[in-house]
């Protein structure tokens, strides 16, 4: 993905939902995109797959999937990509499944849309898929309707659908947010095992840094439609560079260690109608400088990039103060 920009014209003005996002996803890599509501993480993925249908939307940039440009494909061409080579898992499994057909019917429909299969073959495969995602008694469950499954089981069905055509890339939008923590653990565990077996790449979108730390190899932190920081997961979590990432990590109450006073980021997320020309985070940033009126570019070393004007010396000083105050 190169310099993706998505903007919506509204009566109140232009909403820049995604404002210059570039990244690569390697084979078998798990890339996490983290950000708060309205940071543009979902819109970026949806526009990439042609799922944003709005007369007032403008999408520019370039998205190449296996060397082929997929931005601007016709609906028909896109349909072979979506659900075929690119699978999707949505946040709410109830809206991803239609309530009026059995899960078997829905799996068979998807399988036959992308493969040359008879109904019987597709049904056999559907049962195999349900078994693979850990649904007990798949032979009878295949005839059940979505409402007869629990939330975790439903999400397993959605994963089975996403996997049905052996996708090279799996896009998971908040796949565990609607689930309880024990179910979340089951689903993350399942995704990890399936990724190992099928060797697909995953882009996982979440607001939960913990989920990122559990599953992602690399992470992009987004704020107001722009990438604030990109790097290997362990580097971003252990030595975050952007003040927004400091806030985001410091604000999470922890279950695994004794808590310190939570860091708060003052104010609210910036209005997407009024993202400033300079650094989008400047208005809430405790370390704002004059130069922040200009937009920082992503820079850094060792694949760990951030968009912030602070120098390394300044960061070091700020972090050591935070540590002595027990906030880091």
């Amino acid at each position: 993905m190169r310099d993706l920009k998505v903007s919506f014209s509204t009566r109140q003005g232009v909403v820049r939902a995604v404002d210059g996002l570039s990244f690569d996803v390697g084979a078998k890599e798990v890339l996490g995109i983290v950000g708060e509501s309205g940071s543009g993480k979902s819109v970026a993925m949806y526009s990439m797959l042609g799922l944003v249908r709005d007369a007032n939307v403008e999408i520019t940039g370039s998205v190449k999937f296996q060397g082929r440009e997929i931005l601007g494909l016709s609906d028909k061409e896109m349909q072979s990509v979506r659900g075929g080579e690119v699978g999707m898992i949505f946040q709410d499994p109830m809206t991803a499944l239609t309530p009026v057909y059995t899960v078997g019917w829905q799996l068979v429909e998807q399988l036959r849309a992308h493969n040359d299969m008879t109904k019987e073959q597709a049904r056999e495969r559907a049962i195999e898929l349900l078994a693979e995602v850990g649904i007990p008694d798949p032979k009878s469950r295949v005839n059940h309707y979505p409402h007869e499954f629990s939330g975790g089981m439903r999400q397993r069905v959605v994963i089975a659908m996403a996997l049905s055509c052996n996708p090279k890339l799996l896009i998971a939008d908040e796949p565990t947010t609607a689930l309880d923590v024990t179910t979340q653990a089951q689903i993350l565990d399942l995704m990890e095992r399936l990724q190992e077996r099928h060797g697909s790449s995953i882009v996982i979108i979440t607001h939960d840094m913990g989920v990122i730390a559990e599953i992602a190899d690399r992470v992009i932190v987004m704020y107001a439609g722009r990438p604030a920081e990109i790097g290997p997961e362990i580097d971003v979590v252990r030595s975050p560079r952007h003040p927004y990432t400091w806030g985001l990590l410091g604000a999470v109450p922890r279950a695994d260690v004794k808590n310190r006073r939570l860091v708060t980021i003052p104010g609210n997320a910036v209005s997407p109608l009024a993202v400033p020309e300079g650094c989008a985070f400047a208005a809430r940033c405790p370390h704002k400088m004059d130069i922040c009126d200009q937009r920082p570019v992503l820079r850094g070393a060792n694949n760990h990039l951030d968009a912030c004007w602070l120098t390394d010396e300044q960061r070091l000083a700020i972090r050591s103060v935070a540590t002595t105050r027990g906030e880091a």
Partner: protein
């Protein structure tokens, strides 16, 4: 009841008649199945559990928004169950709720100033001008602009709305605030603001909190003591730090082991204990210990005998035939943590 106990719940049961699929042969659905707990003055008691475990029902039973099926709730030494609405009213003023959804819990057709003033008007606590002054004070207290009193809820963000809900809950000077998932609808940065605000208010007004949440990190952060609920029962209750460090109940242990960790130190990750399956339907409660079908250490006795809820170690209550980490408890239990200055 000793003086430091503000509220004592004894063996609360709340059951709903389940719709009869097979001629009423199903047992009633016990959303809360015999919960006993004390809330001490000035403390934060956290209740944590997964969806459907009955934590919200428990909260509503405690403040008498729902009539209990059986059991007793004593508040300031007064038995609340069975009181008429009129007799209940003075006690109700003392316990206020903060709700999860800041969109659904504020009337969209009233100004936020009215929303905060209404409890005081209904209870005739003061005259018109005095109430207006107090509303302005409350807005300042919770970090809102007092010039926005005449606005409507939709003009505020989620975090600001939750502040309005908190201001409303404080308007009658309650001693107990029951917060039911007060931050789960908020983004983390806003969540931290609201949690810090609640901590400041507790200190300022000497409040007692019953704090209900599904997020284990949030509950550890805010609570002095924590109760863990499963299928309508409290399976473990104890000092927050001790409970998180050395969980006694296998359910608590499994729950804590699967919370995603940031992994930002070299300390090894807790070994994940994946519990299989889903929470059973409360109307089809398993025999013996309710957790036994999913428990990694269950034995025969767990399928037949319901474990008693006992104080296994000082301040550590658990209902389990095979408690975990028992030897480790004694070491970590020594002094109670001192509250931050």
């Amino acid at each position: 009841m000793s003086d430091d106990v503000l509220l004592r719940a004894t063996d609360i049961v709340k059951s709903y008649a389940s719709r009869t699929k097979n001629l009423g042969l199903r047992a009633p659905n016990r959303a809360v199945n015999g919960v006993s707990l004390d809330i001490r003055r000035g403390e934060t008691l956290g209740i944590v559990g997964e969806s459907g475990c009955g934590k919200s029902t428990l909260a509503r039973c405690i403040v008498q928004l729902l009539p209990v099926t059986s059991g007793s709730v004593e508040f300031n030494g007064v038995e609340l169950t069975g009181l008429s609405r009129r007799k209940l009213r003075p006690h109700r003023r003392e316990m206020q709720l903060v709700f999860q959804d800041p969109y659904a819990s504020l009337n969209p057709r009233r100004t936020v100033g009215d929303i905060v003033a209404d409890p005081m008007r209904i209870n005739h606590v003061a005259g018109h001008d005095e109430i207006n002054d107090r509303v302005r004070d409350l807005f300042v207290t919770v970090g809102l602009d007092p010039n926005s009193l005449r606005r409507y809820p939709h003009e505020f963000s989620g975090g600001q709305r939750q502040r309005i809900g908190i201001a409303r809950s404080l308007s009658l000077n309650p001693s107990l605030v029951v917060a039911d998932e007060p931050v789960s609808a908020l983004d983390v940065s806003v969540q931290a603001q609201v949690l810090n605000l609640m901590a400041d208010l507790q200190e300022k007004f000497n409040l007692t909190y019953l704090f209900i949440a599904h997020d284990l990190g949030v509950v550890r952060h805010v609570s002095d003591r924590v109760g863990v609920m499963y299928l309508g029962e409290i399976v473990e209750l104890g000092d927050a730090e001790a409970l998180y460090e050395t969980p006694l109940h296998p359910y608590t242990e499994a729950l804590l082991s699967v919370v995603p960790e940031l992994n930002d130190t070299d300390a090894p990750r807790r070994e994940r204990i994946l519990i299989t399956g889903d929470v059973p339907d409360p109307s089809l409660r398993p025999s013996g210990c309710s957790f036994h079908p999913r428990c990694p250490v269950a034995t025969d006795i767990c399928t037949t005998d319901k474990p008693a809820f006992i104080e296994l170690k000082p301040g550590r209550f658990v209902a389990c035939h095979h408690p975990r980490n028992v030897d480790a408890v004694a070491v970590t239990l020594s002094p109670a943590p001192t509250p931050p200055p």
